[in-house]
Symmetry: C2
Subunit: 310 residues, 2 copies
């Protein structure tokens, strides 16, 4: 199965002829394939500061968890890997733009991201705003192009679903709720969970459902899986924020507490948060059992999300 | 021809049964129809600061020149008005987001826009960044939805074309060039024209070609028209920046000069700039002569762009 990116399913456990890789090998192999895909989509251009900033913001050391989920989801429905990779790259552009804008001084005012200066620190604020806008816009250009799927109905569906996940009803709305809460604080577990369903959950949902959207198949099992891992991911983040240190995490820790912003740990306690994360992880594994062995790495992902150290 | 927005072609010169309105009536009538469409797409929601900011940024007193061009372009090809209005609204969301982000302190640092406080002054910077992101994302949600066009190939084409016009290769890239020039200045008429082809020209091009994209028709006459009026519009802006005052314009004037940023007027002189704007306006009128009387208001638009007082 030739592809401009090589076969991104090779080494990630979806090509049945090959030896099944373990989860961590599959994740690393996928991250490399995503890096190649983004590098091909946004090649170096000399004397182009905007392109340089867009590359800085999108290439590098991310776990590429969302693209991994897209590829695994697409694998369940035997979608073409080079097409799935374009959907994965589009989603990663959205994720990366959101990090650039969230890190801005007017937002979270972060200097470090993945152990490196944030985009506005490496370049400047104006360039970071524009690089974010450029990546956000580019995501839809990728999805709309014929190379992403032969059926334009599917391409339009991908555009609409990603826009809803990324926009006011999803990620952007969740980030707004998060900022507003810094003033007043979250009043309950439900309030913070609602914020997270938008801020981080919506992109996870798109990632997990992507294969079903591409195949025009039933999305419900993947939606349930996504809601469980999305919430588990954020609870685990809050636990890491308490337990880890900046050297391991590559970004500032304890800052939520420093800002007086309530986290899941505040409402559940540290042990309670760990139990809830484990419960959600188990529920996610159960949700994709319907896909049998093809969902093995999705099940592993649900376990990884609550066990990771950064 | 019933529509959720009424018939936006009524009173704008594209319904042959009615008396042909003059250009200014058509422009005003269209602006009202666009206002209604945006208000319907982004209805009031109580206790929703993000929605409030998105409405603040997109509703109000704009000339709605780009939506007007979309509707006139669509009229040339007998496209359904309620569909053309969705394309127009999507484009206007992009235009409005760009104003919000361009006005930010890290960019042009403007306090006034259309005589009102800019979005970050009325709300705050974080809200303005997110409202811009939300409007940008919403544009693609609108275009991808089936209500915009029955043919998903056309919807995908609209998405890709708007993304290219708005993104790195178009508006965002042009804005980056403009910011970089504040340090070094533009070296020539060609350099400033190249920047404007991206910064303002690309959205004009999408607006003018929209009808042809919707009809899968030849776009070349409209592309030529668009390139002429896009450049003419910007030259006229630079002339206004020299000749007008803040009370008329609703925003600060003379600021380009104050920043030491070269404008078209610097390269062409005031009289030369006026002559060049007039020449471009005439060329635009000639480019759409192929459509006959159906393009009457497009021809009027080309004349208006260089004659306007704000």
């Amino acid at each position: 199965m030739p592809s401009a990116y090589g076969n991104p399913y090779c080494g990630i456990g979806l090509v049945t002829q090959e030896q099944q890789p373990d989860f961590h090998s599959a994740l690393v192999n996928t991250a490399q394939a995503v890096e190649t895909a983004l590098n091909d989509l946004l090649p170096v251009r000399s004397n182009d500061r905007l392109r340089e900033a867009m590359r800085y913001a999108s290439l590098g050391q991310g776990k590429r968890l969302r693209p991994f989920l897209v590829l695994q989801s697409a694998g369940l429905f035997n979608q073409r890997p080079e097409q799935a990779m374009r959907v994965a790259a589009a989603l990663e552009c959205i994720h990366c733009y959101s990090l650039v804008h969230d890190d801005l001084p007017a937002m979270d005012n972060d200097d470090l991201r993945r152990g490196q200066p944030t985009t506005h620190r490496r370049f400047d604020e104006a360039t970071a705003i524009l690089a974010g806008d450029g990546l956000l816009t580019f995501a839809f250009e990728i999805l709309g192009e014929a190379a992403t799927h032969a059926d334009p109905t599917i391409r339009s569906a991908l555009v609409v679903e990603l826009a809803r996940a990324a926009g006011e009803a999803g990620m952007v709305g969740g980030q707004m709720k998060d900022i507003e809460a810094e003033a007043g604080g979250f009043s309950s577990y439900q309030a913070i969970a609602e914020m997270q369903r938008g801020k981080t959950g919506a992109l996870f949902r798109f990632a997990c459902e992507a294969g079903a959207i591409m195949a025009a198949a039933d999305r419900m099992p993947l939606r349930q899986y996504a809601e469980h891992i999305g919430l588990a991911f954020q609870i685990a983040d809050d636990i890491l924020d308490v337990e880890s240190d900046a050297a391991t995490l590559g970004k500032a820790t304890g800052k939520d507490k420093g800002r007086g912003k309530a986290t899941f740990v505040d409402f559940l306690g540290l042990d309670g948060a760990k139990q809830e994360a484990a419960r959600l992880s188990d529920a996610a594994v159960a949700a994709v059992a319907v896909y049998g062995d093809k969902a093995r790495l999705l099940a592993d992902t649900a376990r990884f999300i609550v066990a990771r150290k950064k």
